[in-house]
């Protein structure tokens, strides 16, 4: 067993100059698998510190739930890259790093003398990942984006929602998060190459392209059948306490009819196989919903899954935190933070060789200035004080 071996990325230092959602989510994953991640924030902090939801709905630098979630297991230093000495300090950090992550507008890092070419000349093994909405090149490289812009342009959004109504955004920030996932995997590819050759490289991640990979039907179906996939209703039925997709298979139809107390339905020609049920969906749904109205969604889920039907109830975040499956797997884990006290966070996305997922609270703004600038870079206290006066730190 290799249970006691160090975490897979524990030999790596990551300098994370990114802000918002995508870059920080990527760096969080690297930290969770053992990398030392030093988050370089501007003096006013990562702008995600000013994005909700906030603890008790009161804004504040250390109160954003989004920020707290995205920045677990990192150290934070403040550094104004545009101020005197700021870029020089960043270069010293980047010399010790395996990976630099940034999310500024394309060309901004180069303007500060911190582009890939400049940093790689001092550290040829450096993996430099830029994570932006549109990527570093192309006609829209300098366009602005948020989550809904990414869902729209990638062709992901158009088929979502109900016929006759406007296209609907998938809830939350899934595409910005997924861009972080894409960046994580891209960095793992670059790291594989670096482990073999010692060479770093430049990694260009675009959230639009990450989302365009995620639209798994629209572009390919439009070309094959010649029609754009259209918005269609969801096959969700109402239960006593919410919604469920029932997903009955041919093999479990008979059992299902018994379950709902109507064994004679199994002989009904309108529902004799998948094709017939598809044709008579409306009649079937009516029968189904009469039964479901008195059922609890999770009870139905377990009953149908035990018949090998692929049922899926619509679970809320409250249902998930209480889910026995998640509890037994220890998915939600308490993290203690001075603002919130211990509260549950989602855990790691997978485990390698049963190694624990590292999840320490997000850093306070500039919490590790002394540790990083003093102990790691060897700056004397008066030097740090002077940089603070200049507004650099």
């Amino acid at each position: 067993m290799t249970f006691n071996s160090p975490l897979v990325l524990s030999d790596l230092t990551v300098i994370d100059a990114s802000q918002g959602i995508s870059g920080p989510f990527c760096a969080k994953l690297l930290a969770g698998f053992g990398a030392r991640v030093i988050k370089v924030e501007p003096p006013e902090g990562d702008y995600a510190r000013r994005m909700g939801p906030f603890h008790q709905d009161v804004p504040g630098d250390e109160r954003s739930g989004l920020f707290l979630y995205l920045n677990t297991s990192k150290e934070s230093v403040t550094l104004n890259l545009g101020a005197p000495g700021g870029a020089a300090l960043f270069r010293r950090l980047a010399r010790r790093a395996a990976i630099v992550i940034e999310s500024f507008a394309p060309g901004q890092m180069a303007e500060w003398g911190l582009g890939y070419a400049a940093l790689a000349s001092e550290n040829p093994g450096l993996i430099f990942a830029s994570i932006t909405p549109f990527g570093q090149t192309g006609p829209y490289a300098h366009y602005q984006a948020t989550e809904i812009i990414i869902q729209a342009l990638s062709a992901l959004q158009y088929p979502v929602g109900l016929p006759g109504r406007e296209p609907l955004k998938i809830g939350g920030s899934p595409c910005l998060m997924t861009a972080g996932v894409s960046a994580f995997s891209a960095i793992m590819i670059a790291l594989h190459f670096r482990d073999a050759t010692g060479e770093g490289q430049f990694v260009d991640i675009s959230a639009i392209e990450s989302a365009a990979v995620s639209q798994i039907h629209a572009s390919v179906h439009a070309q094959f059948g010649g029609e754009n996939p259209l918005r269609r209703d969801s096959q969700l039925s109402r239960t006593k306490d919410g919604w469920i997709n029932v997903g009955i298979q041919d093999s479990s139809w008979k059992q299902f009819c018994s379950l709902i107390g109507q064994p004679s339905l199994a002989e009904d020609e309108r529902f004799s196989d998948m094709a017939a049920r598809r044709k008579n969906t409306k009649a079937l749904v009516e029968i189904l919903e009469v039964w479901l109205a008195d059922q609890e969604k999770e009870a139905v889920y377990h009953q149908l899954q035990s018949m090998r039907s692929i049922a899926g109830p619509v679970l809320t975040v409250a249902d998930l935190v209480g889910s026995p499956q998640y509890q037994i797997r220890g998915y939600f884990r308490p993290v203690d933070h001075p603002t919130t006290g211990p509260i549950p966070y989602p855990g790691g996305p997978f485990t390698v060789a049963e190694q624990p997922w590292r999840m320490e609270r997000a850093p306070l703004l500039g919490e590790h200035n002394e540790l990083v600038f003093g102990e790691m870079l060897g700056l004397a206290k008066p030097d740090i004080a002077r940089l603070r006066e200049l507004g650099t730190v």
Binding site: V8, F54, A145, I170, G172, T178, S182, S185, E209, I328
Partner: protein, 426 residues
């Protein structure tokens, strides 16, 4: 000179449908040798039925299934590029023995069956690691390898429900809706690339193989960080809010000139609001003092939406997008499938993998990778393999079987190139 980042990595790909194939086609793009293993008695369900029913014809080139429909169905061919394809019946003893021989020659194995399937076939991790002590075994199951629901089945769209994603998707204040786009599948697939490579790094560090336990459902729940933290911090259970944003306004999609044509707009700051007003030509209504600050705009967003729609109705979605972006306002044409493959930005960045299908005599644009690596760019994609197309290459070339041995496997029905399924299981 460009090189392949994953040169020399050989992956045995037992995955089916979507999530797993969404890991292995990008791994193939980056230089890994991916061997897709299917049974000719079942096939990957995305190959569809041997005699496709009318309601599925739109998934074939020009709506025509051709003589071998199982080799040219849209979803199958997009997700299975960059792989070699072999058939092997893992329910037969001879099939299991051949799989063990393949495992001995591969760096990694991936599968996304229900948790107990490999146990039942006696091909689970403890057995396979004996055959190859340096094997990375990536299990990408729907629920993870433990827990009371470990054997539950799922599809991409039911995963949206059980992960929580559906509960926050839907029109503002209305019932929840699924995306119908099986969003969790490609996300788990993309993450699987990094997971598998982390496993290989673990092998290099320790000299020992490893088991990777990935629950697709947990991966998807991890995308809902804001909603979960809101519940953890404030006890709030978020529901659908449509195209609205909790802080930004205006924020949504607005109708344009064409049929079912829309532009998405999001205003996150006072500067972007000023940009939007300039783009609209400083209309009088925009000077309303209620719109001077973000909170006022948010509370009166329906009024703004109606004015903004009046402006967008006179424009195409591309015109509205470029006019707004020229003033620094986040805006995007809501592209349809046919449009996105011709988008000039994605085209200039070589996002699409144009891949020729000889049976049809034309090329299709399939998705490329979500990344561009400067020294190790992705390869040109290779077409998805026909059923058992590479049986001779792999069984002869990699395992060193003679033609007679391969013929014997065919005769016994362990391998084959003709599909023996009549309907697809899902």
């Amino acid at each position: 000179m460009s090189r392949n980042a994953l040169e020399g990595v050989r992956i045995l790909d037992l995955t089916q449908v979507a999530a797993g194939p969404y890991s292995t086609f990008p791994l193939g793009f980056m230089g890994a040798e991916v061997i897709k293993v299917e049974s000719h008695r079942r096939g990957d369900s995305t190959r569809g039925q041997v005699n496709p029913p009318a309601h599925q014809l739109f998934t074939y080139p020009d709506g025509k299934p051709g003589p071998r429909p199982w080799n040219q169905r849209a979803d199958y061919v997009q997700r299975n590029r960059n792989k070699l394809g072999i058939t092997l019946d893992l329910t037969m003893d001879e099939g299991k023995a051949v799989l063990i021989r393949l495992v001995e020659r591969c760096d990694a194995l991936m599968e996304n069956f229900r948790a107990a399937v490999m146990d039942r076939w006696e091909l689970d991790y403890p057995r396979l690691i004996k055959a190859n002590p340096k094997l990375v075994y990536l299990k990408m199951s729907s629920q993870g390898n433990t827990g009371p629901e470990r054997n539950y089945g799922s599809l991409g769209y039911t995963m949206e429900n059980t992960s929580g994603l559906t509960s926050i998707t839907g029109y503002n204040g209305e019932r929840p809706l699924m995306s119908n786009e099986t969003y969790p599948d490609p996300v788990a697939g993309t993450l699987g690339v990094g997971a598998l490579l982390l496993g290989l790094r673990h092998v290099r560090q320790t000299g020992s193989g490893c088991f990777i336990d990935m629950s697709q459902r947990e991966v998807t729940t991890g995308l809902l960080g804001e909603a979960i933290m809101d519940y953890s911090m404030n006890g709030r259970v978020q529901g659908p809010t449509g195209n609205r944003h909790p802080a930004m306004a205006p924020h949504g999609v607005y109708p344009c000139t064409g049929d079912d044509e829309w532009v998405a707009v999001a205003v996150a700051s006072d500067a972007q609001w000023s940009g939007l007003v300039r783009a609209l030509g400083n209309p009088e209504w925009a000077g309303d003092e209620r719109f001077a600050e973000g909170s006022g705009r948010w509370h009166h967003q329906e009024i703004i939406d109606s004015h903004l729609s009046g402006w967008t109705r006179g424009l195409s979605h591309h015109e509205a997008m470029h006019l707004l972006q020229a003033e620094g306002v986040p805006a995007a044409a809501l592209l349809k499938g046919k449009e996105v493959i011709h988008d000039p930005h994605l085209a200039e960045r070589d996002f699409w993998d144009w891949n020729y299908m000889p049976e049809v005599g034309r090329a299709y644009a399939y998705v490329g990778t979500a990344w561009h690596l400067s020294k190790t760019p992705r390869r040109q994609g290779s077409p998805a393999p026909g059923l058992g197309e590479h049986n001779h290459l792999i069984y002869g070339g990699l395992l060193g079987m003679t033609e007679a041995e391969i013929a014997a496997l065919e005769e016994k029905g362990v391998i084959g190139t003709q599909p023996l399924w009549t309907t697809t299981p899902v």
